[in-house]
Subunit: 267 residues, 2 copies
């Protein structure tokens, strides 16, 4: 970690394999230093007791025994000095699933959120699964309708953690039929790239903005750079909209995508 | 304009006085050079023919006779070289009212949007009224319910132009009873300051992030920095939510507010 190259950003589509062959979590642990990794696990998205401990146990099975839980439950917890100290020592930060609006309401604008952004910029790696993945970008999908058809009002956007502004992330993608809401998100303002991530699938985004697909499913990339028309601004709420000239990629493990040049590289 | 100090950002709450005593538009014109001002007027939010010409006429009455209209109607127009040339020559950029989702869908991610951001960073002043004001921030209020009570699902956010990330703007504020949707926007992620602007009222945000109120109404500032609890992440969509420890200011003409230190200064 040289302090100049930013850390990886790893959105995971949820329901990642945890026991038999935890490929995604193993790869993230290796990135963070393998046996020497020190992971800070943030279970704030979940209301289930034990969500943090569950990942402590999984990472221990993988060989990482220095993980800690930061049990942030209220906004005041996001200012705690002891949690900030842990984040300063961590080689990786992991946010569990649950509800991404809990993450934005409890951590947004706090010292913890600022420190996570700074640590990632300094080279510390970040992974989030499900809600933890949705929370990553500046523009976060907070909710919406699960349908294949994009509509005005088909997606609820909210400000996220802000590790990147280049993508917007949706998860449990194929499993919950979310193409419509990802397209709605992209259609509002076509500056951002939509990334839909299937369950047990992740994208490892390297410091240069090139992502690689890992896991058993696919990712869906919606690139609106050449979009010539969107009727999002002229249809009543809830009505299907026109979107002309989107570029779409479906990518499986090993495939890479450069979020700057917008090129695909196959193995 | 020294190329190092950014330009003013001027969100106007809509329905600004245009004939008898057009205080807000006059002040903006003076800022841009008075008689020597060269304004680029973008009527894209409106579907009414003549929306651009209307402002050309008003600004001519004020004494600015070098304004031009950029009639951007489709995404391809946002890449036109002649429009980019006009933006490079303008001393001020003005976006009219209408529907802000037309602005984000037609201009988002295009050469025009990038150039407006760059020109404002270089010192060119920017004003937008109504939809043109909503479009200013990174996180734009695209729609929502007009009620005083904040709710999950009470606001529709979308990525905006991105001239600033420090505020989110709502307009026609008192006239359309929009406190609820501004509070909903702030409650999602309390890093941003909510600014509700009444009709015939504007905030002139100077290069240091200090805003001054101009016009006949008030602005409503919602500062969530001390927010200790938000139930946005735990209530079903549409239900009213709890928000504890928001700071609220109502400010009228002459009052100033520093968006960095969050202090109010009265005349």
């Amino acid at each position: 970690m040289d302090g100049f190259q930013r850390g990886y950003i790893v959105p995971i589509g949820g329901a990642e394999e945890k026991l038999k062959n935890p490929l995604i979590l193993q790869k993230f642990a290796n990135l963070c230093g393998g046996k020497d990794a020190r992971l800070a696990i943030i279970p704030t998205a979940s209301k289930l007791k034990g969500a943090g401990q569950h990942y402590i146990d999984i990472y221990r099975d993988i060989g990482v025994d220095q993980s800690v839980i930061l049990p942030i439950e209220e906004r005041a917890d996001s200012e705690r000095e002891d949690y900030l100290r842990e984040l300063k020592q961590a080689s990786g930060i992991f946010i569990t699933g649950g509800n991404q609006v809990r993450l934005s309401t409890i951590m947004g604008g706090t010292a913890v959120a600022k420190l996570i952004r700074r640590r990632n910029a300094e080279g510390v790696h970040f992974a989030g699964t499900s809600a933890g993945a949705a929370f990553i970008p500046e523009h976060m999908i907070a909710g919406g309708r699960n349908t294949p058809t994009p509509r005005e009002g088909g997606v609820i956007l909210a400000p996220g953690l802000g590790l990147t502004n280049r993508i917007v992330v949706d998860q449990h993608f194929r499993q919950r039929d979310r193409l419509g809401r990802l397209l709605s998100a992209v259609a509002y303002n076509p500056f951002t790239i939509g990334i839909g991530i299937d369950e047990n699938t992740a994208t490892f985004i390297d410091p240069d903005g090139v992502l690689e697909v890992v896991g058993s499913g696919a990712i869906t990339v919606v690139d609106p750079r050449e979009l010539s028309h969107s009727s999002m601004g002229s249809k009543p709420t809830g009505k299907p909209i026109n979107l002309i000239n989107l570029r779409l990629h479906l990518l499986t493990k090993g495939a890479k995508y450069d979020t700057y040049t917008r090129q695909v590289f196959l193995e």
